[in-house]
């Protein structure tokens, strides 16, 4: 055998091996600690069980909606499974960019035989959405503010109380959640908030309430902003996702405490893009069936403090994989933390998002 034929046969062997070997599956998520928790809880075990699948991580969830639309228009969808928040899933479903999922046939039953649709319950907020975690947007505050004279904020309305709790606050640069909190603290009953917010006067009322603290607010757009601002002492309190605050408090040991009052529950989960080839669709469904079963969802909570979306997963939540602390008290769904909660109204915001956002941005720009 001469040199040339050796090279040729080796090359042919390599080509054959890669063709018969790993099938690539692109999974899109948020990056950072969140993607790491998914890698440990879902991707690695799945690849171990299916050696012929090679999972590629893409961290584009923040632009997923726009990119999926562009891909669909170009007729070349390269993503197989995408992690999005529930409101984006509804948008994608409306646009026909995500495939419809039949929970009972496409998702795993709970270990005791409960059907998936029942196990997920109300969290199945869209036909295309497979819930994964419950997270919450909530406030945290610094514990070393001299000007507060030893008091600590415990009520959502303390955010609006500049006399008792002076200092800068950070709020998200969008109307969602802020408008609800403003109305709650302006005397609107919890179950009437969305009725009021649907009216022109209600929107003005909420903005007027936000106006009272506008000069003291730093507006954030990335989830990592508030933890950074709190750690730097730029703000004395601020809202963000509870998992980010967990890592600030427990992993980085900053003098910061959770407020939890009036935390707003939201959901994050998977969608499968519409119009995948039959083969890729089946592969994606197989992954989803595995990654959203009861044990896998409970496993993710070992790495990040977000609550599993299945009722049957809650009792299985254990200790943090590295810190060794009990994770249950850090879950937004823990009874101690969930005394006063608020559920994001998806239907309302799908309808009013564009309108209220225009008013909110105009108000911000004034």
């Amino acid at each position: 055998m001469n040199m040339k034929s050796i090279i040729l046969s080796t090359a042919a062997g390599v080509v054959a091996a890669s063709a018969a070997g790993a099938k690539d599956m692109t999974i899109v998520s948020w990056g950072g600690a969140y993607s790491a928790s998914q890698d440990a809880a879902y991707h690695q075990p799945y690849m171990k069980a299916n050696p012929d699948v090679n999972i590629i991580n893409d961290e584009s969830s923040a632009e997923a909606v726009a990119k999926l639309r562009a891909m669909a228009e170009a007729g070349n969808t390269t993503w197989d499974v995408v992690d999005v928040v529930a409101s984006d899933a509804i948008r994608l479903c409306d646009e026909g960019l995500a495939m419809e999922i039949d929970a009972d046939t496409m998702l795993a039953d709970a270990p005791d035989g409960t059907k998936a649709s029942e196990d997920f319950g109300d969290l199945l907020v869209s036909e295309c959405f497979i819930p994964q975690i419950v997270y919450s947007t909530t406030f945290a505050y610094r514990t070393d503010v001299d000007a507060w004279g030893g008091k600590e904020p415990s009520n959502i309305c303390d955010v609006f109380d500049l006399e008792a709790f002076p200092g800068k606050r950070s709020l998200e640069k969008r109307p969602i959640n802020n408008m609800e909190w403003a109305l709650l603290c302006d005397g609107v009953a919890k179950d009437e908030v969305y009725d009021v917010l649907g009216t022109e006067e209600g929107q003005q009322q909420a903005l007027a309430k936000l106006d009272t603290i506008k000069d003291e607010v730093i507006w954030w757009s990335a989830g990592a902003d508030t933890p950074q601002l709190l750690a730097d002492g730029e703000v004395v309190m601020g809202s963000t996702y509870n998992g980010r605050l967990f890592s600030l408090i427990e992993e980085q040991k900053q003098p910061v405490k959770m407020m939890w009052d009036a935390q707003v529950f939201d959901l994050d989960g998977w969608i499968i893009p519409a119009n995948l080839s039959e083969e890729r669709k089946q592969a994606a469904l197989d992954y989803i069936m595995f990654a959203t079963d009861t044990q896998r969802l409970a496993d993710q909570a070992k790495y990040i403090s977000y609550g599993p979306a299945r009722a049957s997963s809650a009792p299985l939540v254990g200790k943090h994989a590295e810190l060794g602390i009990d994770m249950a008290p850090h879950m937004p769904t823990d009874p101690e933390n969930a005394k006063n909660t608020f559920l994001y109204n998806y239907e309302f915001w799908a309808d009013y998002r564009d309108d209220i956002d225009a008013k909110f941005q105009a108000w911000l720009a004034q």
């Binding site: 730093i218 507006w219 009013y352 564009d354 941005q361 105009a362």
Partner: protein, 434 residues
């Protein structure tokens, strides 16, 4: 050569002077010349063709396609063909609901639309014009599957049964108003206008945003460009007059931030400018600022101006530098030897020759800053963001690409208009990049 001379002599003898000059082969000389020139032109075109096609396909075509979305509105006519026809005869000004036939047309259209889920896409499209239509179509879509079109006679009642909002005339008015294949709705929205009952009117004051943002973008871009001139001119002057060895070293210092990631530089400004940041800490330590009155340097217009000036500075310095390099130092020396003092020599002799560099740098800085959105988003807070931040929002978040395209078109038109003004008053020939 000799032949040509001979033949031209022949021609001169044989042909009348007024006739066409013929070449060696008997053809008119003009035509042969044109042919060989054409061949040359074609060859030149062939040489640039790959680039031309590349630019057309990857640059011009996508931009044209995107801009076209600002007027395109096929979705209503495609999803609701029968309803659009039926609505033509309906007088929307009476305040009465359309007739039963229109409701029936809607039922037939929706039943088809539900098959490929286009009704929800239509819902999100119309929701940009009126809040609530999105859920109206989504909810009706679920119920209309069960509606028996053959059996039903009273479609108005059937729709009322499915969702009470169908009895709201406003929804029908919106559908009719946006039933055309083309729409001016996006451009109106981009200019803070809306179609009211009495024609086009301004949106209420609490919803006006794009005009404010456009003005702010232009104003702040001018300020940023001006600060770049102010800071860049002395540096470029220094670079151009120092000996080569020193100036090269300094040039690297100018280019170094240019090679650093934009996000890194912007985030660095965050650390420097925030109230508990390096600059404020230093000022407090020096006793120039009281601890409880720290300066607000970020999350406002100041932050955007500082960070953007820093980021765009190389775009000002480099053209200035390359123009100044070409100004012979002997001119200034000559001016001085003729009795001018330092200032006069600079202002009357040196400065006018450096103006083309200022022109080039200003155009670069201004046009770049008008389209910037990452830096304003990070350091601009609420008062320091640009119109491009809203374009980015509509592209990636609200998916209202039509409005984003309209805003982009407006921005393009404004920039072209300014370019034209610039050409008229300063002259684009006065711009030199080196």
């Amino acid at each position: 050569m000799v032949n040509t001379a001979d033949s031209s002599q022949d021609i001169a003898h044989s042909a009348p002077v007024t006739g066409p000059v013929l070449g060696n082969d008997g053809r008119p000389l003009k035509a042969s010349l044109a042919r060989s020139l054409r061949r040359q032109k074609l060859r030149a075109l062939g040489l640039i063709a790959p680039l031309l096609i590349f630019v057309l396909l990857t640059f011009i075509a996508p931009i044209a396609d995107m801009l076209f979305r600002s007027v395109e509105n096929n979705i209503v006519g495609d999803v609701l063909p029968r309803t659009v026809v039926a609505l033509k005869d309906w007088d929307e000004t009476t305040g009465e609901l359309p007739d039963n036939a229109t409701f029936k047309a809607m039922a037939l259209d929706l039943k088809e639309a539900v098959e490929d889920k286009s009704h929800t896409r239509l819902g999100s499209r119309l929701n940009y014009e009126q809040s609530g239509i999105s859920s109206l179509f989504r909810q009706t879509g679920r119920k209309v599957k069960r509606l028996d079109v053959e059996e039903t006679t009273d479609f108005v009642a059937a729709f009322e049964d499915m969702n009470k909002k169908w009895m709201d005339v406003e929804n029908w008015q919106t559908i009719k108003a946006f039933s055309g294949r083309f729409t001016d709705g996006y451009f109106l929205a981009a200019a803070d206008l809306t179609k009211g009952p009495e024609g086009i009117e301004r949106v209420p004051e609490n919803e006006q945003i794009y005009y404010t943002l456009l003005l702010r973008t232009l104003k702040m871009s001018l300020i940023i460009t001006f600060s770049c001139i102010l800071l860049g001119y002395p540096i470029a002057f220094l670079l151009a007059t120092l000996p080569l060895r020193t100036s090269n070293l300094l040039l690297i210092l100018v280019l170094l931030p240019f090679w650093t990631s934009l996000l890194v530089r912007t985030s660095a400004w965050k650390v420097l400018l925030q109230q508990q940041g390096v600059i404020n800490d230093t000022l407090v330590w020096l006793g120039l600022v009281a601890d409880n009155a720290r300066l607000e340097l970020i999350n406002n217009q100041t932050g955007t101006i500082i960070a953007m000036t820093h980021i765009l500075l190389p775009f000002m310095i480099l053209p200035l530098f390359s123009v100044m390099k070409t100004i012979p130092p002997s001119y200034v020396r000559a001016a001085k030897s003729l009795g001018a003092n330092d200032w006069t020599a600079f202002w009357r002799v040196y400065f006018p020759q450096s103006v083309p560099g200022i022109g080039a740098g200003s155009i670069l800085c201004f046009i770049l800053s008008i389209g910037y959105y990452i830096t304003p988003e990070i350091v601009g807070g609420t008062k320091g963001v640009f119109i491009s931040n809203r374009i980015a929002y509509h592209i990636s978040s609200s998916l209202n690409w039509g409005l984003a395209a309209a805003l982009g078109t407006l921005l393009l038109v404004v920039v072209l208009g300014l370019y034209w003004l610039y050409d008229k008053f300063v002259g684009i020939d006065n711009v030199k990049l080196g």
